[in-house]
Amino acid sequence: MARILVIAEQRNGKLSEATLELCKAAKEIASGLGATPAAAVFFKDDSLAKEVANYIPEVFAVVDGKLGAYDADYYAQAVKAVVEGQDVKGVLIPHSYDGVDYAGKAALAIGAGIVSNCNKATVEGGAVVFTRNTYNGKIQEQKSVKTDKFVATFEKGAYDKEAAGGAGSVTAVAVSLGDSRRKIKEVIATMAGSVDISQAKVIVSGGRGTKEKDKYNDVIVNLAKKLGGEYAASRPVVDAGWTDAARQVGQSGKTVAPVLYVAAGISGAIQHVAGMKGSQCIVAINKDPEAPIFNIATYGIVGDLFEVIPAMMEALG
C-alpha cells in the first residue's frame, strides 16, 4: 500500500515537536486515502528513529555520518531515495526553518507538486485538499496538487501530537549520499539580552503600527510600566531598531505566556502568534477590524492605538 511519509526533523539530537505533530497528520491523511502512515528519520544513528516509532507504526531510518546535522542537499537526496524505494505517495515536512530550506528542492527531486505552509488537510474524493494562510493571515486558501505524488509543509501547531498504540517498526534504508555544497561552521546564539520577558505576568507588546521609536516608547513602554509589566515587540519593531532583540515575541523570538498580553498595532501574523498564543488573556488594539489578531484575542478594541492607550492610562488612574 502507498505510504504517507513524515520527514523527521531534529536539532542537536532532539526531535522537533512539529515532527511528532505531523505523525498525526500522516495518520489522518493516510486513513482518508487508504494508504499507510510512515516516517523517515535521517540521523547519524537510529536512536531518533526508535523515538519516532512511538508515534507512528512504520519508520525508515537512514543512518549516515553525514546526517548528524541538517543539510539541504543531503536531505533532498535522502527524501528522493526513500520516496522512490518505498512506494511513497505523499511527503509531509514541518514548515520550519529547516523544512522551508529543502522542501521545495525535495519536491522537484521527486517531480511532485508542493503546497507549503498548510494548516489543514482533508481528503475529498480521493484527493488531498490543503488549507493554508495567505495575505498575512487575512485570507485562507485551498489547494491540491496535480501530480501523482505530493509534498506539503505544515505550520507548527496544525496538529496535536498523539502517541501510537505501541512501538512501530524501524527499518534501515541504505542511501548513498553524494556531495553537499554547504559546510556548517558553527551554530551561534544571537539574541542574548539582559531582560527575560518570558517571566513577566503582564506584557505590553507593540508592532509596526506604533510607527516610530519615540512613539513606541511613549505608548508601549509607558503602559507596560503603568501595569507593572514588561514591554515587548513584533519583529518589524526589532528590525527597525526601536527596541532590543531580546524583547521580540514569536517564532524567531521569545515564547511567552503571561496572564495578560496586550498587542497594540500588531496584525497577528502566524509567526508572531506562535510566540504568545498561550497567554491567559489577550487584548488586541488595532485600527483594522479584519486584523487576524482579533481571531485569537480575548478582548479587542478597533481603533487608533495612539488614542486608546492614553485613554487606558487615564482609566488606570
Partner: protein, 262 residues
C-alpha cells in the same frame, strides 16, 4: 559581482480586502507595494555592490503595475531590470513563476548571486528561491541574516536564522541563491536624485515567448487552486464598542473585574 534581485509586488496588507467569486481578491480596492522582505534583499545587493563592484539587476514578474516597484529599486541604486510580463505566467503557480524567473536570470548570464525575499507576504509560500536555486543548479540558503564574501569573491560565509534566536553559520561557493530575512540591514530610502535617475534606467520587457517558456498558466502548474475565503474563527475576540475613551474605560474595567488579570 553580478547580482539579480527578485522583487515581487504585493498588496499593502492594511488594504480593504474583498473576495470575488471565492477565487480572487478585488484588486481595485488594493494599494500595492514592494514585498517587505524584497526591500531587504535589494539593500543587501546594493551593499555588496558598494563593497565589491559589479551590478545589481532587478527582476520582477507581474502586470504593468510592477514597474513601479522595479523603479523604486532603481531609485535605491539598482542598475537595470527585467520586467517579465505575461498573464500566462502570472496565472501559474510558484513552479511556473520560478521557471520563468530562472529563464530571465539565465538571459542575464554570468550571475554570481540571486537574492530573493524569505517569502512573499501575499502567498506566503517561501518556495520561489529554493525552486530557482534547484532549476539553476546553484547552491542556496534560506532565511539569511548575514552575508560575508571571501577574499577571492567566490566564497560566501552566511548566517542562516534558526528558531530560538540561533544562527547557523555556513560556507558555500558562488553562484548561489540566498533568500533574505528581514532585519539583515536597514533598507535605504530612495533619494530625489535617485528617483530622477531611476526614470532613465534600462528596463527590458520579456514575454513568455521571448524567454522560451513552455510551462505556462494552470496547465504548466503542478498545483491547483480551489478557493479562497475569510477565516472564520471560533475564538473571535469580544470587541469593545464605543469611542477610544469609552472603550478604554470598559476594557480596564473588564480586565480588573471580569478577567481579573490586573
Amino acid at each position: 559581482m553580478k547580482i539579480v534581485v527578485l522583487v515581487k509586488e504585493v498588496p499593502d496588507m492594511e488594504s480593504k480586502f474583498k473576495i470575488i467569486g471565492d477565487a480572487k481578491i478585488d484588486e481595485s480596492q488594493i494599494a500595492f507595494k514592494m514585498n517587505d522582505f524584497d526591500e531587504y534583499a535589494v539593500e543587501a545587493a546594493l551593499q555588496l555592490k558598494e563593497k565589491f563592484g559589479g551590478e545589481v539587476v532587478i527582476l520582477s514578474s507581474g502586470p504593468e503595475r510592477v514597474t513601479k516597484e522595479v523603479r523604486q529599486a532603481f531609485a535605491m541604486g539598482a542598475d537595470w531590470g527585467i520586467h517579465v510580463s505575461d498573464p500566462q505566467i502570472d496565472e501559474g503557480d510558484n513552479y511556473v513563476v520560478a521557471g520563468a524567473l530562472v529563464k530571465a536570470i539565465e538571459s542575464v548570464g554570468g550571475v554570481d548571486l540571486v537574492l530573493t525575499g524569505v517569502q512573499a507576504e501575499d502567498d506566503q509560500a517561501g518556495l520561489t528561491g529554493v525552486f530557482a536555486a534547484d532549476m539553476l543548479n546553484f547552491a542556496h540558503c534560506t532565511n539569511v541574516v548575514k552575508i560575508e564574501v571571501g577574499g577571492d569573491q567566490k566564497a560566501l560565509t552566511i548566517n542562516r536564522e534558526l528558531e530560538g534566536g540561533l544562527n547557523e553559520v555556513l560556507e558555500m561557493a558562488m553562484p548561489a541563491v540566498l533568500t533574505i530575512q528581514s532585519g539583515i540591514n536597514q533598507p535605504r530610502y530612495p533619494t530625489l536624485p535617485g528617483i530622477m535617475k531611476a526614470k532613465k534606467k534600462r528596463l527590458d520587457l520579456k514575454k513568455a515567448a521571448d524567454l522560451g517558456i513552455s510551462a505556462l498558466g494552470e496547465a504548466g502548474s503542478k498545483t491547483k487552486f480551489h478557493k479562497m475565503y475569510f477565516p472564520v474563527s471560533e475564538h473571535k475576540a469580544e470587541i469593545i464598542q464605543g469611542d477610544a475613551k469609552a472603550a478604554a474605560k470598559t476594557l480596564v474595567d473588564k480586565l480588573r473585574n471580569e478577567a481579573k488579570v490586573i
